[in-house]
Amino acid sequence: MIKNNKGNALVTVLVIIAVIGIVAMFTIPKYNKLIEGEEQIDASWAQVENQLQRRFDLIPNLVNSVKGYAAHEEGIFTQIAKARTDYGNAGTVEQTATANNELSAALARLLVIVEKYPDLKADVQFTRLMDELAGTENRLAVARKDYNETVQQFNNNVRTFPGNLIAKMFGFEKKAYFEIKEGVEESPTVDFGSND
């Protein structure tokens, strides 16, 4: 009897170990995948922030060169300054996205204003700044697309079985997309032929 009991206990322990082993076999790779996903999201978000920062740094130069030709257009300079401050204060992905939209709108307006000043458009320094700005907008679009793709993949993992169980167990949550406000051009279109 005693021997039998011992045998049963052993079997039970083995079964438990086997179950744990099987669960672990399924859980660990998925868990690692989620961790990896989070890392990728962080990395691609850093890229977005890089480009936002780049734009942020570029703006004072741009504003100064426009001021040289159009000092009286004060409204737009105030709007840009405000958008820039908001961006500086933004903490979350959503806040950053909102501030970014604000900044995009202000820059788009600035570009419309610039149209009125042919001398400014012909300025070599200004042309370079505009190329830099356009390049930054493009990089931002690329970084945002990369970020959203990574988030999409991660969210799929978090929401589908069995990832959802593991995500719940370890507290992984869906990540926010970097969204563009509807109605606002995704970025100011910087476009000028060499003839103007």
Partner: protein, 251 residues
């Protein structure tokens, strides 16, 4: 709400449809993809050899392309996607560059664009690339002269990056400070190009002859065997990427 979400998801999946407009990755990197056939054949061969020499001596990979249209893509999207999909440049250094121009988007709507990998962004910020396009390409492109536009911009990069063709004079250096009239420069470039190595053979046989030389590795001065490139060797695509840098114009 669900509908909205699905729309958003669709928009996020858009890149899949974008990919359709990107040319397939060629099996072998021949540096110049004159899909629209607007670059003269001799110049094309010179560009190929010089680009190969440039990769050999500096590691930088410059790919040039002419194409009828890039569809609905923004030039930066096209450039970035081609660099990524083809893997132009070294995987770690991201030192690839793509110069492309369209031919059939209508007057004033054609795009010329230079896309760079991150590794070249420091030396060639967008502002500089834009002004280089203005200086070296636009005067020709406005007259539909793709040949000289590509020859000029490439020569400039070749000089600046310190390309070393092992003594062979592959591209004509262009001196910015010269006050020569453009017509004279064009004339000289044309003379130079027609006197260059592939000059032999009739007009019909030229392309094939040049191809043969290229295939046979005609430019085997041996000066660039042990470059620090990691994989693939010359002519390969190294797996380079781009984060969207570059500049361009419409013409």
């Amino acid at each position: 709400m669900r509908f909205l979400v699905s729309i958003i998801v669709c928009m996020l999946v858009m890149p899949l449809t974008i990919m359709a407009a990107i040319p397939e990755k060629p099996a072998y990197n021949s540096y110049v993809y004159d899909k629209a056939n607007v670059i003269s054949d001799d110049v094309e061969q010179n560009l190929i050899r010089a680009a190969k020499a440039l990769e050999g001596s500096t590691g930088n990979v410059i790919v040039m392309m002419t194409i009828d249209t890039i569809g609905d893509l923004a030039p930066y999207e096209f450039g970035t996607e081609v660099i990524r999909k083809w893997g132009i440049g070294d995987e770690k250094l991201n030192n690839g560059m793509l110069i492309f121009a369209t031919t059939d988007q209508g007057p004033g709507k054609n795009d010329v664009w230079i896309s760079v990998g991150e590794g070249l962004e420091g030396d060639y910020p967008d502002g500089l690339l834009g002004s280089m396009v203005d200086t070296y390409m636009m005067p020709y492109l406005e007259n539909g002269d793709y040949t000289n536009a590509f020859a000029n911009i490439f020569s400039t990069f070749y000089e600046e990056m310190g390309g070393d063709a092992g003594g062979a004079d592959l591209v004509k250096p262009i001196n910015e400070d010269d006050d020569w009239p453009i017509a004279l420069i064009i004339f000289i470039v044309i003379i130079y190009l027609s006197l260059s190595k592939f000059g032999g053979g009739g007009p019909g046989g030229r392309r094939r002859a040049a191809r043969r030389i290229y295939r046979a590795g005609g430019f085997s001065t041996g000066g660039f065997g042990g470059g620090g490139r990691s994989s693939g060797g010359f002519g390969g695509f190294g797996g380079g990427s781009s984060s969207g840098g570059g500049a361009g114009r419409r013409f």
